[in-house]
Symmetry: C2
Subunit: 233 residues, 2 copies
DNA sequence: TGTACATCAGTGAACGCGCGTTCACTGATGTAC
DNA sequence: TGTACATCAGTGAACGCGCGTTCACTGATGTAC
């Protein structure tokens, strides 16, 4: 009847240790080269032992992806909630910079989520989607708040054609009660932020050094000016 | 003294056939999974035969990357030159849309250039850089033309700090005689375009369908409005 | 507190696989006289 | 035109490697009486 604390403790530690080692491996050799045997070797363990914690390689990858989305979502939520609800510009600014900061701090996680997919692996949507939607929903929620407050500048935004409004509705199901317009604007903002950060992570940028900070700040501010009117705060 | 036409013909054909098959393989299984044996199998050839054309696997990957950049550059140049030199907005619009069109038409090439790098492979800069610079130089040249014509809106652009202007100078060497400011603006434009297209290619966009066209057109127009004054054309 | 039993995390050997690369070879293609 | 020779693209066997996964096992940990 009484639990067996020691065993459980050990198990959990090893389960976490496997993921940690996997991250290190991904950082060094890239996600596609992730190997159970290599992880086991690094942990001083035999490869079959991993099967006590993950039924196969794909399950481990799935767990890693969910972890990455969760970590990403945590960062987004923390950034948003550091500013009061009414300060929409402040919140937007914060999550924009949090996006880059998180990506630079965890390039492996970023690569696993946004990079080229691991060959031969397809993410099981049902497991991954909730954590992904939670993360992306932060931006959507702020844009939607602006729309409700009447400070969203959408006059020049391309009209949502009937055909694709229907398609968006499906995506809406996962994003709470945000308006389709908010989703579209959020998507475009996300694309801009993602564009800079992905180039920076991939090392495709010329050696700007600290100059990238200035460019990024400029881009975030451009987004705010283009899409948001000044609020009361 | 006379040449041996038949042999050379065959050789060249096989050399090209290897690359073509490699592209198909990359399209199906992703660049990291590229395998000489698989290519040979698909061609009805034994693997060692490939060594008559490429000294090793990395050499083949390098050749593929250069081909991709060349194809990309061709598309950019053709788009730009379809409009007269004075019509800067027209040229910008054209290369912006050409970028997306090329990426959608050749997702494998796009992925190989901009996606997660092939694990264990490092591109030899000396071989790859010229074709890469040729491609990116198209956008730079148009922005630089605007700057010279005095129609580049750079008032609100972040000032180039001394430290990173020096770093940029190094990159400038490859980009002809464009101004540092033009390089910075071109980089930001590139990041925006790349942001949308890379999300679309990776399938990360919600099912917008044809709506993506409208969003993309909107984004291109936003860029033009933000950075360029009306010229004479 | 002490003994007999059950659990189950981790082991080590083995499987079948595909990979990049090497090597000595063969046999058709092309050349020289 | 005909023969002897050189070239060299492609072959087939072999190497050593690392991989994911299976399987029967062992031995320490924890449980029940």
């Amino acid at each position: 009847m009484s639990p067996r604390p020691r065993k459980d403790e050990r198990s959990i530690n090893l389960q976490e240790a496997i993921k940690e080692t996997a991250w290190q491996y991904i950082a060094k050799y890239g996600a596609p080269a992730l190997s159970l045997r290599a992880i086991a070797r690094a942990l001083g363990i035999t490869a079959p032992a991993i099967y006590n914690y993950y039924p196969d390689r794909d399950a481990l990858v799935t767990a890693l992806i969910i972890d990455a989305y969760t970590s990403f979502g945590d960062a987004q939520i923390a950034a948003r909630d550091a500013f009061p609800e009414e300060d929409i510009i402040g919140r937007l600014h914060a999550i924009g910079h949090a996006y880059r900061r998180w990506a630079l701090a965890h390039p492996q996680r970023y690569q696993l989520i946004f990079g080229t997919p691991v060959p031969g692996y397809v993410a099981p949507m049902k497991q991954v989607l909730p954590s992904a939607v939670r993360a992306f929903g932060v931006l959507v929620s702020v844009v939607e708040a602006a729309r409700r407050a009447g400070t969203l500048r959408a006059d020049s935004f391309p009209p949502i054609k009937p055909g694709y409004e229907a398609a968006l509705e499906e995506w809406k199901r996962f994003s709470g009660d945000a308006d389709v317009l908010s989703l579209s604007v959020a998507l475009l903002i996300w694309a801009r932020v993602h564009g800079m950060v992905s180039l920076e992570i991939a090392g495709s940028l010329p050696p700007f050094g600290a100059g990238v900070d200035a460019l990024y700040e400029y881009e975030i501010t451009s987004i705010e000016r283009q899409f948001f009117r000044e609020g009361e705060s």
